[in-house]
Subunit: 242 residues, 2 copies
């Protein structure tokens, strides 16, 4: 159909050509492979990936909505400076976590967590439904149960579930939507460091106590305890990348 002597793979499983292209371009851009200021021409991309320009344009539209690139006539598709990227876009977060500056990204996100989660826990103590309190206690107990004996995968599942419930129970939709981010951070952390050692017993205890405080409606205590968890997470990261 086209020459395409150097067509790139686009190995990802297909839900449409544009999605495949996006999964090639997004990581490449966020990884700094195309540094800010560099220009991508639509037909060049079309040739390189052996797709039509329409497909390229759709992928570019999405990248544009993430503020990763800017498309201007007669100029091409320009990569925007890092500071302008929509770093809260889950897709962008995933790409960056998979890429080179993973440590930096992990630090930023953990700092964000340390700011948000204590406040969320305080709100949860005031607004959590009985069902949410029960879920919280259940997850905390599961964390205790899986905290010893090389069950890190199971532990991770419940850790994520715990924080997700807290964020949802806060009743604030902005907080609730950070559940996915926290999940990424936690699983990334587990996957990329210790993996051998059991989790810190003190942290496990803190989770149980947070569940208690929320159940009892003790907002200040829930906030304070969650802040302690956050401090632990920050310290853990400082050890890794000081």
């Amino acid at each position: 159909m086209r020459a395409a002597p150097y067509a790139e793979p686009m190995t990802n499983q297909a839900r449409g050509l544009h999605a495949q292209l996006l999964e090639s371009l997004g990581p490449a851009i966020t990884a700094g492979e195309y540094p800010p200021g560099s220009v991508l021409r639509t037909d060049e991309l079309a040739q390189r990936f052996d797709v039509s320009r329409t497909v390229v344009r759709e992928a570019v539209r999405v990248l544009e909505s993430m503020h990763l690139v800017e498309s201007r006539r007669r100029v091409g598709v320009t990569v925007r400076p890092t500071e302008e990227w929509n770093v809260y876009d889950p897709q962008v977060i995933r790409w960056r976590l998979a890429g080179a500056d993973r440590p930096r990204q992990l630090r930023s996100l953990t700092v964000l967590r340390s700011a948000v989660e204590p406040v969320a826990a305080g709100l949860a103590a005031r607004f959590a439904t009985p069902e949410q309190c029960a879920a919280l206690t259940k997850e905390a107990l599961w964390m205790v149960a899986t905290s010893r004996g090389r069950q890190l995968d199971a532990y991770l599942v419940h850790d994520i579930a715990f924080h997700r419930v807290v964020l949802r129970a806060s009743g604030n939709e902005m907080f609730a939507r950070l559940g996915d981010v926290v999940a990424e951070v936690l699983s990334g952390r587990t996957r990329h460091q210790v993996m051998f050692e059991d989790p810190d017993p003190a942290a496990v205890t803190l989770h149980v106590q947070v569940a208690e405080a929320v159940r009892e409606g003790d907002a200040p205590r829930a906030e304070r305890l969650t802040r302690e968890i956050a401090v632990g997470a920050l310290q853990e990261l400082d050890v890794l990348a000081p």
Copy 2:
């Protein structure tokens, strides 16, 4: 070219047809005009807005990347439930702030601010450059200067600038990117309520003190003072929409 007897206006100034279409669909969806679960067919939209299906597809791709809709074959473009929307996307935030549930959105965002900004101020006290300290002091003084005598517009400019500098000075990119959100919240607040009364003198003083604390590197004080500002903002909102 096409029949288009009921072509809708798309009154927005043009940077491309797809962008215009987006500016029609985005606000409509976020405003709940197309409730979650409802389906939009591509050619129906193409007819209604008198554009080609390619243009519709590009707009849909963007909406899809915001998790506002989901496109499936044989089904159509389905509006996703509210909880799945990318509520951190500045575009989505703007649409929702312009729409019906503006008060609710304003509350969510203010709670987010109250969680993030104190921590950001604490970090700023540790990491702010001399230039940033100077900028902070300058903006705080401008706030003082414009805090009396019906200069709310000028005051707003410096209020926004102040918070933006704090967020940037924190050195955390996730915080820095909340500058736009804070700007939207502050201008929205000013535009939609008092507009007559001068700002609370206590709040103005607090800003000056935050600038001081950051300049002196007193992180706990900067954090505590910013938390006081946040509490004030929350109370202000509680009065409006209890």
